[in-house]
Structure formats: C-alpha cells, structure tokens
C-alpha cells in the first residue's frame, strides 16, 4: 500500500486540513521565553554527556523536567547545589508563572562575577523547589538572585523593544542556518544600530562572530571573539564563539 492507493482526502476534509497547515508558529516573546528556559536547563545538564533515556518517565515526576533531572544525577556532587537551583527555578517557573521569564539563581559555588545583561540589572526572586540530593550545608550558603549570562532577566524580557530585537536576531539565526552569512550580518548590523545596548547584544555579538567566520573573515572574527570572551566569560554562547577556526558551525 502507498499514498496513491489511499487516494485524496474528501474535499471538505482536505480543506480543513489545509487550514491547519497554515497554523501560525511561535511569537517572538514566546520564542524568547522558550529559548531562555532551554538555555537554563541545558546549563544545568551535561551538554555533551550522557544522553537522556528515551523511555517514559516515572508517573510521579513532571514530564517537563525529566531530562533535566536525569542530567542532574550524572553531575559532579560539587555542582549539585548550582544545578539543583537552576533546575528548581525552571520547575518553579513552569509551575507558578507560565508567562514569567526564567530567573536563574547562582550558588555560592560559582563566584565568577556576572556579566551585566540589562541596564540597570534586575534582581527578581522566583520560588525554587529544592532537590533532596542537595546537602543542607550547600543550601545554607547565600545566593545571588540575578540573571544567568546570556539569559535576559525578567525585566529585560518585558522590555517593549524585545519583539523587534528578537525578530532581527531570528532573521540572523535563520540566515546562518541557511549558510547566508551576509544576510545574517545585515540583520545583526541593523540590530546593533537600532539597539546598541539591547537585551540581546551578547547574542548579537556571538552571531556576528559566527557570521564573520563563515565569510572567511577569520582575523576579524578572532579579534571579536577574544573581546567577547573577556567581556562575557560565562556566556552561554561560548560554543559559538570558541568554535574551531575553519569550522563553519
């Protein structure tokens, strides 16, 4: 049997199905929210480590957090407090504030100065369930409530310019995915002009470096990469910035 054997759908059904095919996708704010949350969860999990098992999660746990929790089990104990906090915040956001942006807490185990993302920086505290695996001594340490590097804070995600900023970066992302680095640079240049201190300027710079590298402008890319690493030592976009010379990620 094949598709031809089945024949076409009845016209009224085909019409309804065609309407469903044009269902719109994700708006800019939702896209930013999902991206932020995914970044936070991946930051908590072992990016290149054990892949999450494909089997069904236990019924007692929330499906949306299962991969993150599985990743948590394989982490070094010394990182447990930080990871637990990030996963906890992610869970708390999902449970208590579906529309609220992610806020990432940093534990006392991570003492590297934070990269300022917003001007002025925001300090929003979200409820954070505490995983049982975290030793009490770690939980007792003071924590700074602030944004993770590369992740816009709550106040930043509420900025009115966010959709316009995001749209330009989405153009750049899509262009880079298609291998159209010049088009990506155009969009990034527009972003830099319109939003020089924008929420996503860190991501913009990372994408610019990627685009320059794609165009073979390696010296310029290397200079900007060095400046980027100095300015954003904990950036989530380091994988882009630090890609091997000559690679075209």
């Amino acid at each position: 049997m094949n598709e031809r054997d089945l024949g076409p759908l009845p016209p009224d059904v085909a019409d309804a199905v065609a309407g469903e095919r044009t269902r719109p996708g994700v708006d800019a704010v939702t896209r930013a929210r999902i991206r932020t949350r995914l970044h936070a969860t991946l930051l908590a999990g072992p990016a290149g480590g054990t892949p999450p098992a494909p089997d069904a999660p236990p019924a007692s746990a929330a499906p949306g957090t299962m991969s993150g929790l599985r990743a948590l089990r394989s982490l070094h104990p010394g990182l447990t407090a930080a990871v637990g906090f990030v996963v906890g915040v992610t869970t708390g956001i999902a449970a208590h504030a579906w529309l609220a942006p992610a806020v990432v807490h940093r534990s006392a185990t991570d003492v590297t100065p934070l990269t300022p993302i917003t001007e002025p920086p925001s300090a929003t505290v979200a409820p954070a369930p505490v995983p049982r695996a975290v030793p009490p001594s770690d939980l007792a340490a003071p924590r700074e409530a602030t944004a993770s590097p590369g992740v816009p804070s709550g106040a930043a995600l509420a900025a009115p310019s966010l959709p316009a900023e995001r749209a330009l970066l989405d153009i750049a992302h899509t262009a880079l995915a298609k291998g159209e680095a010049t088009e990506a640079l155009d969009a990034l240049g527009q972003h830099a002009k319109k939003f020089p201190h924008g929420v996503y300027r860190e991501e913009r710079e990372a994408l610019t470096i990627k685009a320059l590298r794609s165009l073979g402008r390696t010296d310029e890319a290397a200079r900007r990469a060095a400046a980027f690493t100095a300015r954003y030592p904990n950036s989530l976009f380091r994988s882009i910035v630090e890609a091997a010379p000559g690679s075209n990620p």
Binding site: V26, I34, P54, H173, T174, S239
Partner: protein, 179 residues
Amino acid sequence: MGVPSLARDPAAERVDFQALFEAELDYVWNALRRLGVREADLDDQVNEVFLRVHGRLSEYDSARPVRPWLFAFAARVAAEHRRLSRNAREIPGLEIEAHDPGPDAEEQAATNEKRRLVLSALDALDQHKREVFVAVEIEGHSGPDIASALGVSVNTVYSRLRLAREEFTIALRRSRKVP
C-alpha cells in the same frame, strides 16, 4: 523552510543545535499541538523535546530529513504527556489563538474555528493513528520517512493512516453538525 545540516564535530554540534532550535521551533510547537498537547503545556513539552534532541543529536543521520526525526521525539513526548489522564483531553475554552494577526477579523475567526474543529477531530483518534495522520496529512511527511522515524513498517503506517482518515473524516463532519 530551510533545514540546517548537522555537522559531526562536537563543537559544531552544539552550535548546530542552536540553529536547529531556531529553525524548527515552530515545527515542533505545532506538531506537539496537533499531537494533543494542550496550549498551556506547550512550553514544558517543547522544552522536553529539545532536551531529548540535544541528548541524541549525535545519533541523527544527516542523510535523512530532520523533521521526521524531530517528529518522532515530539510523538513520544506527546504520548507520554497524554498518558497522564489529566492531560488526555483539552479543557474547552482554553484554546488560545491570540498570536495569529489577520486583516479581517471575521475571516480570522472562521479560520480559527476550522483549526479548532481539526484539533477536536484529531482527539477522536488514538495516539498511533493520530501520529501518522498528523505526520502524513498535515506535516506532509512521506510514509517511508515517518515509518523510519517512528520505528514501524511502512505497511503499518499506511494501515494506520487509512483507518485514521476514516475516523478523522467522521469526527470532523460530526463536530461540524454540533453547534
């Protein structure tokens, strides 16, 4: 839509995951919606799909189209989500179609109603039939591609599709008659 190629270099893989996310978020979002995930749960489930994709990226065969591969993740996540009884049915009145700007409000309302009926008719299918109907009739994947992605035979896909078409048609026509 352009589909990003996935390199094998570990550093490049991380980067390509980002490109994949940016290029295919809409696809995954809508696939999950069609597979029965409620609007209010889409954030959670999209996150879960991409976490699993991230963990299995090295297994992706770049010679094959990426969307059927992504669809298999979405189908598994949606099935697990719906297995929880509280998620099995959409609660009437919670449908959100706010982010679909259109020039004509009446036309937009008609389109939204049509989409609502389609989702409602999809609810009449069991999960296996729903997966193949969504994959082939709505997402436009070929039978062999989706058979390979779901790990079933091509005959199984077409057998399920034939039954799914019949049941979907009946459900859609019935729901139109209900005011």
